[in-house]
Amino acid sequence: MKNHRFLIGLLSFLPGLARAQGEPAPVPSVTNQTAVNPSAKEVDQVEAPAGPPLDTRLDAIEQRMKEVESAEAEAGHATPARAIDLYGFMDVGLQRLFLDSGDPLNGVYPTRATTFVLGNVNLYLDTRPGPGWRTLIETRFTLYPNGSESFTPNYQRVNTSVYDSSDPNGRAHVSWGGVVIERAWGEWSYSQALTIQAGLFPSPYGIWNIDHGTPVLISLLLPAFQVEEAIPARLVGVHAYGSFVFGALDLGYHVYLSNGRTMTNVDLTDDKALGARLFLRHSGATRFTVGMSGYWGTSSDDTKQLDFSSGSFGVTETRAWAYHEWAAGVDLSVDWGGWRLRTEALLHRVKYDAGAQNEPGLGPPGSVLPNRFAHYWYGLLAHRFARRFEPYVYVEIQYVSPPDFLDDFVCTPSLGFNIYFKPWAQLKTQYSSSYFFNTEGPNPSNVTIRSLASRLVFVF
């Protein structure tokens, strides 16, 4: 790069180079005598040139060359660019969960106090090594596992604090955090109708899981089907997608084959999970997308025990639990003027295999999740006015049959307000109340969770 810059600097003293980067050199006009015989004023300007300093002009030239090189590489003219586009987002905020001291949900959430939180710190590494090829890695940096709590069955809290041995005082300490791989895939595009992707990818279903990040999502509160991952949020496998364009409409599809929901990083069975999405999208002054998504898969867990009973070393595997599941959903998003509508409905069925014990649940220690149907729906209506302000109403309903730990019906009305300072800086605030009911059990649940959350979101 230094040689490159030196060459630019050297050449920039040659007349007309700056224009040679993109603009044609001016042809001296026959009638413009001042071009041939500069006036005294112009001579002064030559001796003491006005305008930006040399470094600024060199930066501009270098930037323009990068633009051309980048565009040419994408068009397939030049050697594939090795540059990585780095971008991402982060959010930080203040939140409070309003719970009574005796509420069992205190076991799930670590504090009832108002607390600052560091939310997402997500970094994207995006490369396009050649025409039609692309890789994308998104990582989330997090302070976890430090501070994570669990009851198994006794209360435990993870403490990752260690002495920083590189500190000259020898007494400083750090709490190490973690990295979550949100996606890591490579893809090759054969045509508009077919792109093949392999790796770890967000499951392409509905609106929420595709919109994915706080800068894009309107609401801070995740729908229950996202929290509970009625369809796994991300999967390892292969994914094909494409679309067919008809004027302002395009009809698109996603089909993916994956390990499905696994307890480890590998699949414990040979059967693979299958998912698909079909959508119709309209671009223009009124934008809308209507879609339907489906998922079918199995999940299981095994335990292993060393076995020396036969005189030689062996491992006995026992199927701990196993089930098959399917989910189907529909979604609609509309952007009309300042109005924004988002709604999704999803049905999730889990059925355990005969003879296989059910999966451990979130209830009291030793409890298991039963075969179940879960129904989810949410609707969100927002209106952006004066370009920057966006109040919205969000309502969510969840019905599970048979009831989970405490309830079978949850209703969550919510109000939110977003401020868009700039496209890359937003403030999101949301208040919500979740009402839990047990319509089938003997002890009606009367749990209510109220929360207030805000996030300052930055895109970089």
């Binding site: 930037q63 633009e67 994207y124 994915h212 004027g247 302002a248 370009r387």
Partner: protein
């Protein structure tokens, strides 16, 4: 990083240029493009031409007044909307925005050498080595 940086810096307004022309490589089978077609191309919804040549859309830089006019007429978006649109696309992991060049001459040069390329320039910068497939005149997309 530079791509987002360019996306995020934009002028607050722009004067209406006399006329913009949308240009493609001379070998392109495309004869004319409508506003819908252009929107699909410059939002990267349309990725292949009818002859399956990959579309290479080239934008002017956000600081160029013609870019602001083009986005307003074709995409129906102002600079903030455009920046938000591409931020959303990139956070979703979708296609990044079209590459951009700062000068009309560079766009003419690249489009004339690249089958599948498409760009737009002021009519006054038009050269015979490219083909015009649409014009933007008085805030409307019209046939060439």
């Amino acid at each position: 990083m530079a791509m987002l940086g360019c996306l995020l810096s934009h002028p607050s307004g722009a004067e209406e240029p006399a006329e913009l022309v949308v240009i493609v490589h001379p070998s392109s089978p495309v004869r004319a493009l409508s506003a819908n077609d252009l929107r699909a191309v410059f939002t990267r919804v349309l990725r292949d031409w009818p002859d399956r040549t990959p579309v290479t859309a080239i934008n002017l830089a956000p600081s160029v007044p013609e870019r602001v006019v083009f986005d307003r007429v074709v995409l129906g978006m102002d600079p903030d909307d455009v920046a938000q649109f591409w931020i959303d696309q990139m956070i979703r992991g979708d296609s990044p925005p079209p590459r951009q060049l700062s000068s009309a001459a560079a766009i003419v040069d690249l489009v004339s050498r690249t089958p599948g390329a498409i760009g737009y320039i002021p009519d006054s910068k038009l050269k015979p080595r490219v083909k015009v497939v649409a014009r933007i005149r008085r805030s409307q997309v019209v046939m060439p």
